[in-house]
């Protein structure tokens, strides 16, 4: 893949324009700065959440609303999550629901509206929860939130002895054989989804020029870095240059999950069936190489008992790439894959060294201690990037 000269125009658009970012994403970036100044933030109590839910359901016109069996869900690194039972007139049996709500600031700032649109659009294509209610502006809940149906299943085997957070380090054990083909089928189904015909009003496709898919991701995360990172890092400065100079063209825009990995799907332990693909908050229209590269990231895999690295604990790398091509009919371009390996590893650097550290320092999250813990993995991604950019890793 030839690098394009920086600053040259491509179909009228400057490939180096740092302000060329998907419009809704740009709004979220500005919202982040407004929210940051409102901190610090404390974890919501069950009572606060229950009162917010009652306000929301009252506004829907429901009568005799009762929120029961409220339980906070731990394990995620981004949003406050609760499951609860909704009782109200007109429901013969209570409805079990899940609330996913923004803290003041988190490891990744996104829109519940976009997340709800993505889940709703993809439901039926892959297993997802059903979006039941949305409070995008936090009018009732106090913070932006989306409420979905409760889906049975687990994100890791219940006898899992690993201590990783956010599903990292999950060993699927004997379940891996059954999960692997479903994991692959669902990824291909997401990429084959007809997003052009779907109702996705908060999304914009990067179709103005062929490099826009790559540069929207680059510009988005450079902007996060610039408005969030506590200090500069020489390798990150070089990465920014490299990403702008080596952006690949994309002529096959797909719907991208953008966080498709171990820990972000549920499965039924008895049947082995995948019951839900989770965490759609980063979904966007882009290049399929982005998701494929994401699955292969070191942090989201593990080394098996034979010393072999398994992507997401499910496949050896080459087997995953081969089976993806075979099933999707798409051809993976090695240089584009490398570009998105850098993009994904670098996004994780931004999440850890910029967002985790800044949000924890500001005290703007419900689990600042988790964010300061997660920040230590940024070095693992920087080490990977050294290799991707042709450097010689120190061993």
């Amino acid at each position: 893949m030839a690098a394009s000269p920086v600053g040259t125009a491509f179909d009228g658009a400057s490939v180096a324009d740092p302000d060329d970012i998907e419009p809704r994403v740009k709004e979220i970036l500005a919202r982040t700065l407004r929210r940051r100044a409102q901190g610090p933030y404390s974890a919501r109590t069950d009572r606060q959440v229950g009162e917010g839910l009652e306000r929301l359901f009252a506004a829907k016109g429901y009568r005799n609303v009762r929120i029961e069996q409220m339980k906070r869900l731990a394990g995620g690194a981004s949003k406050e999550m609760f499951c609860f039972s909704l009782h109200r007139d007109g429901l013969e049996t209570p409805e079990r629901l899940v609330l996913r709500m923004d803290p003041l600031e988190s490891i990744v700032e996104t829109s519940r509206q976009r997340e709800a649109e993505a889940i709703t659009a993809l439901r039926g294509t892959v297993p997802t929860p059903e979006v039941r209610y949305l409070d995008e502006e936090g009018e009732f809940l106090g913070q932006s939130g989306v409420i979905t149906s409760f889906v049975g299943g687990v994100t890791k085997p219940s006898d899992h002895s690993g201590k990783g957070v956010s599903g990292i380090g999950t060993n699927y054990g004997s379940a891996a054989t059954g999960i692997a083909p479903q994991f692959l089928n669902n990824l291909v189904a997401i990429h084959n989804f007809d997003w052009r015909s779907a109702h996705l009003p908060s999304f914009t496709a990067p179709s103005a020029y062929p490099k826009q898919a790559a540069l929207w991701q680059t510009n988005w995360y450079v902007r996060i870095w610039e408005q969030t990172a506590p200090e500069a890092i020489p390798l990150v400065s070089l990465i920014h240059r490299w990403l702008r100079e080596n952006a690949p063209e994309c002529h096959d825009l797909c719907f991208i999950h953008a966080d498709y990995r171990m820990g972000n799907f549920m499965f039924d332990e008895r049947s082995g069936e995948m019951t839900a693909v989770l965490d759609w908050e980063l979904a966007h229209v882009g290049d399929f190489h982005e998701d494929v590269a994401y699955v292969t990231q070191k942090l989201f895999g593990l080394v098996n008992e034979n010393g072999q690295f398994m992507c997401c604990g499910l496949f050896p790398r080459e087997e995953f790439l081969d089976r993806y091509q075979e099933l999707s009919g798409r051809t993976i371009d090695p240089e584009t894959l490398r570009y998105y390996e850098v993009v994904n590893a670098w996004k994780s650097v931004v999440h850890t060294f910029a967002s985790c550290l800044r949000v924890a320092k500001e005290g703007n999250n419900h689990q600042d201690i988790l964010l300061s813990w997660l920040a230590s993995v940024g070095h693992i991604f920087l080490n990977d990037i050294v290799g991707y950019l042709g450097g010689e890793k120190h061993a």
């Binding site: 201590k163 390798l235 400065s237 920014h240 230590s376 920087l382 061993a395």
Partner: protein, 179 residues
């Protein structure tokens, strides 16, 4: 005699493990997870606290060497040469003769200043660097980053999240150059 930092960390970990964590009700997963993270953080603090100054001194020394290398090799148009001159001035004022400051606060200050200066220089290379310095700056930064990422992975290996941590040396070996 005063109670040592080791002893205080050790007693906090014991209190968390044996008294506070078991007292958290079984359904309170958030409190339980944060309690476990406190124990993990304290364990890492116990490993780090008496080596932190040596570690940060080593890292800043390498950053100073990177900045000097970039200044020595810089070539190109007015933006690149101006950014290189600014970095050279930062080196002169913050780390004369390549010396690393003695205090933690000053080390942090110099690291932030030099990293910002390098960032400005790399941005300038996008505008008018010579081809040689475009490649040379990448090589210099990658050489530095390879060693720095390795050191940082060693420093945080006990967090248990590095899939290749089994191949890393101890912090002591890394600091003494025996790794």
């Amino acid at each position: 005699m005063t109670p040592s930092i080791e002893l205080r960390i050790q007693t906090m970990m014991k209190a968390m493990t044996e008294v506070i964590l078991p007292a958290i009700e079984s359904g309170n997963d958030l409190a339980r997870e944060q309690g476990q993270l406190m124990i993990a953080h304290l364990g890492l603090l116990a490993r780090h606290w008496d080596k932190a100054l040596a570690y940060d001194t080593l890292c800043l020394g390498e950053l100073i060497r990177l900045a000097k290398r970039l200044c020595d090799e810089a070539s190109g148009g007015p933006r690149t040469t101006a950014a290189a001159a600014a970095l050279r001035e930062l080196l002169h004022s913050h780390a004369p003769d390549g010396a690393v400051p003695a205090t933690q606060a000053r080390i942090n200050e110099v690291r932030v200043a030099l990293a910002a200066g390098i960032d400005h220089l790399v941005r300038a290379t996008e505008v008018d660097s010579s081809a040689a310095f475009h490649a040379g700056s990448a090589k210099a930064i990658l050489d530095h980053a390879a060693l720095q990422a390795w050191r940082d992975r060693v420093w945080f290996a006990d967090a248990g999240m590095d899939p290749e941590r089994a191949g890393l040396p101890s912090i002591e070996a890394m600091l003494t150059g025996a790794g």
